[in-house]
């Protein structure tokens, strides 16, 4: 075959051959709005939730937890409503995961109070002695870095002004540091005294987990 003596032609032809499936199944869908539809009921993450999401990524939580419920009977029974494409319009990157060493988290928002998350993250084994989840109590000892919060939301086109971001952060800080915060006791237990009046990485993580799956309820109710 003549092509076996023409390396450049061979390379160009190889590139063409691998690009056929690539164009049809990957590039074309990028330009079809139906691949990643948008719903007015799905809201972008707040600056705090986004910071929590970034910590979720940093710690590689996606290595053990998926975030997509499949339309299977026992799966809907276990986790809740199956995942809809609209829910992921603001997810960059996606965090669907590939292995469930721990349970799926797509519907975890609102399932437990904040206090549960503070205690569980600090020591999963205290709640579930045989759990193999790593402890993350140290997150409550790290002050949350909010220096890039506005930059992050603007890169992601969430449509917040700098004031919006500042307000979101201030509001959330006011909420978790207030004496009337229902999860105050659990939060204070894991948070060192010098950080109790400030935002920690753990606070952002809890905010993120509580957002997961919240919008789907509105979306389904209003369909």
């Amino acid at each position: 075959m003549g092509i076996n003596s023409k390396p450049v032609v061979f390379a160009v032809l190889s590139a063409a051959v691998i690009l056929v499936g690539t164009v049809v199944t990957v590039f074309v869908p990028l330009f079809l709005p139906s691949t990643q539809p948008v719903s007015p009921y799905v809201k972008p993450y707040t600056a705090i939730e986004l910071e929590g999401r970034d910590i979720y990524m940093r710690e590689g939580c996606n290595n053990c937890h998926t975030q997509t419920v499949r339309p299977l009977r026992t799966e809907v029974l276990r986790y809740g409503e199956y995942s809809k494409p609209e829910e992921f319009a603001y997810d960059r990157p996606f965090l669907w995961g590939s292995r469930r060493t721990g349970p799926d988290l797509a519907r975890v928002g609102g399932k437990y109070p904040d206090s549960w998350h503070y205690s569980h993250m600090e020591s999963p084994q205290r709640l579930f002695p045989k759990s193999n989840m790593p402890p993350y109590g140290w997150m409550a000892k790290n002050r949350l870095d909010i220096s890039n919060s506005f930059r992050k939301t603007s890169i992601l086109n969430y449509g917040y002004s700098e004031t919006d971001v500042k307000n979101q952060i201030d509001e959330y800080r006011a909420k978790v540091t207030s004496d009337s915060y229902p999860s105050k006791e659990s939060r204070d237990k894991v948070t060192p005294p010098e950080l109790q009046k400030d935002l920690t990485e753990m606070d952002a993580m809890v905010a993120y987990l509580q957002k997961l799956g919240r919008d789907v309820k509105n979306m389904e109710a209003l369909k």
Partner: protein, 467 residues
Amino acid sequence: MEESMSEAGYDYKVVRGFTYSALFWLVIGLVVGLWIAFEMFNPALNLTPWLSFGRLRVVHTNGLGLGFGLAGIFATAYYMLQRLTRTPLPFPGLAKAHLYLFNAAIALAAVSLFAGMNTTKEYAELEWPLDIGVVILWVMFAVNVFAILIKRQEKQMYISLWYIIAMTVTIAVLYIVNNLEIPVTLFKSYSVYAGANDANVEWWYGHNIVGFIFTVPVLAMFYYFLPKATGLPIYSHRLSIVSFWALIFAYLWTGAHHLMLTPLPEWIQTVAIAFSIFLIAPSWGSVVNGYYTLQGNWDQMRTNYLVKFFIVGITFYGLQTFQGPTQGLRTLNAFFHYTDWVVGHVHMGTMGWVAMTISASFYYMIPKIYRTDLYSIKLANVHFWLILVGQLTWTVTMWIGGIQQGAMWKATNPDGSLMYNFLDSVTSLYPYYKLRFVAGVIYFIGILVFAWNIFMTTRQQPVEAEA
């Protein structure tokens, strides 16, 4: 054959350098693997944030995929390219820089992943400055690949060179497209794609990076080193042509079988299933070509220690490429996905096919370069049996664990409620995780024997000038 020509001018320094690099990262990657295998049944080893499972798992996959896998590919590619073209490396200085930069990049990659700089896209976790480094490294490699092919003394390009060309082109496309991201800081970026599109791009990449690192260049080694080691020509040239083009065409359609029953549009999933089933044909084309090459000479399985590695390796490749498409079918996928079944599947390919083939390629190549004999065939046999037993115990354990967990997730009581809570399904796997750890230790010992054998071979005096 090219064996008879003068060795003058061939640059083997870079081949040696990448061989040592491969062995080094192999050992490191396996130590991390054992660490996280232990964490799976005892979380006590999550001692610090740097050693927590979520961070270490990506050090393991990147360390072995990029560190060991790519170094092994570069070592054998630089060797095969020179031998098959009968041409010395056009830019040995560039190749040397490639070697040093490669190791620096892998070290930086490991440190950055330990530190939590993680984009979370599987097998593409490195942050954007390292992505740029990877692209530069790839270009440095590609320059030598195409320069030597253009300058070559041998008119026809042998099968292995086709696979090297396909890898060089495809990895570049995959890596750049999937890693398009907008930097926030030096250590943080966001993907340019959102949600279902990001998932689709990622698994197009994820599936094909495995295909074009763990299949395509390893087939290049198989097609070169099997005939070399046995003295037998490849059974069918025509079959290798058909297999090659069908393989590289079909591979790129199949990524979405990793996204079965997710919110990704159903047609993309279905197309992926169809092409995955088709992919069995070209994959088995290479398997059959390998088996028939030994036609009438099967006694070499007994008499030639290298043949065991190649034939058992290609057998795992055959099993892998049959298991993959079947577990991609919607019904089976609904059961197996997200369980340890898939973890077992991956490790049959990497610990079985890839490691066996690279081992045997090194065993053939290193004594040739050093003009000596292998330090110990006996140790090579010990290595073979340890990694075979280790890998089989490992993968079979994970398959059984996967079936068990899948069944527990699906089990319902007569009233239709779930029979097991999630934690029950996790703790029931701990006996399997302990056995998997033991299997990993057996495998690791086999790899240490391998590294020792190669190291001692390089320490020997040359026995004779090559005839």
